[in-house]
Symmetry: C2
Subunit: 347 residues, 2 copies
């Protein structure tokens, strides 16, 4: 498999991304070609610094960078030779099978949607975030690609999230829940009420509406919502977890007795830290496009980049796009009356 | 001040609520009358069991209960003599100044909105939840009263939340943020983009859009969102925090070394537990109505009920409805062109 890596646009500069790609080449022998896309001089000096040479590496020059501050559509229009567009071109031209980018999320979503187009039967690609919980990791979809959604989009997110949980996380018959404000079918807003009716008609292990209370209590494997709610939930959870542990650390340092206690109990903290390590996933796939795209966190370090590439490798090995297309088609047959009435795909 | 307590409908039965009311009578001497509304026989036996007699107590009989499983509007139509309606009648008839109910939230919101009507200039009442964070407690509004909102509603929530943070939480010039998916004005959905334009025109310490990342990092005092997002955020945070500490407790029990460590460090856990104790607030005010309403958690125990009553006492002492009316009117003047175009209040 052939992977394109957008080397520019991460918070820690291109060297970290190049180093992450190098780790991935060691870890995943199934990679046959790895394109490092970005400023050629910068990439070559990063490669030279590591003294790592691998015939699978090819540097593809791009003279511009879509920065975190660029407004996605404006930036993409102005910076025609930016690394993310050049990297996506490799997928579009059939030279690469997957893209990893730690850059501007909105920019990656917009560029990939416009250039690669959604899969047959999919209206909008969605970001799939894996969230660690004490007893099960669950999937949140859409974690931020689509701020405004229609009910059919949520159904498609439910199917894509379910395929991901089953094929990649190896979750048997994933429980799919619609994030709402009450468990009864009539609870929620217009969007979720309509999406509920669609979800219960197709072949999903649909458990109905779920509430915020259910998320970390091993009651659901796939949490479905629009990208506005999903992005807020994802970032709120990251913030709350980080700040709880920061607060605890501060309290544990307050006197020698507590410090000794913390030292004796450090194994407990380590176990939780390891299970919730954001670098272990490294990135969130953008599912539903003709091509595999993984969006890495802007703050990704080497190991996160390696694992984001690993996500793409797994998606390719499991032919996830083929499975999604098949299951979306099967759902369309079940909803034979609803689907044709839907508006055409808009990016 | 005269307080009506809906004694029925909580998860732990009427005795717990009666006991909570008894604690409140001791704690808040400014209470001149306390109406216990519900099944008279049950209430009288609860009072007899505590051997507590206070001339300020008056029992008001209601033959029915709106249960947690009742659909709010259907239930209120069918159960005309339910305790929450009887209690609200006391406010409507000028016999009580505030209501506390641990019952069906949707039922309390619907009944109070229909019977008491919104304050002058307010379209919809909103639930104000106080959320503890390591360095500041912040206010989330609306935490679940309004699933579908218009931009003007969010502006009113912002004003009510700001008044609450200033007058009740004693937060000087509260920072008001609009919960969205990016900090720039153009980020967010149609609702938040329009609400942004309104919020920046009025006299608020409006800091613009905030993201999930900002919530627990002492960057905002009033978080404004519609009730769908707010309810999901509130319940997700409760679930995540509960499950993190449950997980930690499980890990800390795994071997004797960790157990000893936990024992030595227990002061750190206790500090956090005390600061985040949900019973310390006891309830969330439903602001924006002609009358003071506090919605207590269904699972409230005695101390939570007492503190919920304390919330109502503080709201009355600080004449919060007067301040809200004044500030909403001032905002209307500033928005003199926008406000008259708004649709009339709908409950």
């Amino acid at each position: 498999m052939r992977i394109a890596v957008d080397v520019m646009g991460g918070d820690h500069g291109s060297k970290v991304v190049v180093d992450g790609a190098r780790l991935a080449l060691k870890a995943f022998p199934s990679i046959t070609a790895l394109y490092l896309v970005g400023n050629q001089a910068e990439i070559n000096s990063a490669i030279a610094a590591t003294r790592f040479n691998d015939p699978r590496i090819e540097v593809v020059h791009a003279s511009e960078v879509l920065s975190m501050n660029d407004r996605p559509l404006v930036g993409l229009r102005r910076k025609k030779d930016c690394s993310v567009l050049r990297a996506i071109d490799l997928l579009k031209d059939g030279k690469a099978d997957a893209l990893i980018s730690p850059g501007n999320t909105g920019g990656v979503v917009a560029a990939a949607t416009i250039k690669l187009r959604p899969l047959e039967g999919v209206d909008r690609p969605a970001i799939v975030a894996v969230i660690p919980a004490p007893e099960n990791d669950f999937v949140l979809v859409d974690a931020g690609a689509n701020v405004e959604c229609r009910p059919l989009h949520l159904l498609q997110f439910a199917i894509m999230g379910s395929v991901y949980a089953r094929e990649i996380l190896r979750c048997h018959r994933p429980r799919v829940g619609l994030l709402s404000v009450g468990t009864e079918e009539i609870k929620g807003n217009d969007l979720t009420q309509e999406a509920f009716k669609l979800c219960k008609q197709v072949d999903l292990n649909f458990i109905g509406n779920i509430e915020g209370h259910d998320l970390f209590a091993n009651r659901v494997d796939v949490v479905v919502c629009d990208g506005f709610v999903g992005n807020i939930v994802l970032k709120t959870c990251e913030s709350l977890a980080t700040n709880i542990f920061r607060w605890l650390r501060r309290e544990l340092k307050k006197n020698p007795k507590r410090q000794l206690g913390a030292l004796l109990a450090k194994g407990a903290f380590r176990t939780i830290r390891q299970r919730t390590d954001p670098e272990s996933h490294g990135g969130a796939p953008l599912l539903g496009l003709n091509g595999n795209v993984v969006i890495a966190h802007g703050s990704s370090r080497e190991r996160a980049i390696m694992n984001a590439i690993g996500q793409a490798v797994k998606a390719l090995q499991n032919k996830i796009n083929l499975v999604i297309t098949r299951e979306i088609a099967a759902a369309s047959v079940r909803l034979c009356k609803s689907i044709p009435q839907a508006a055409p795909a808009t990016a």
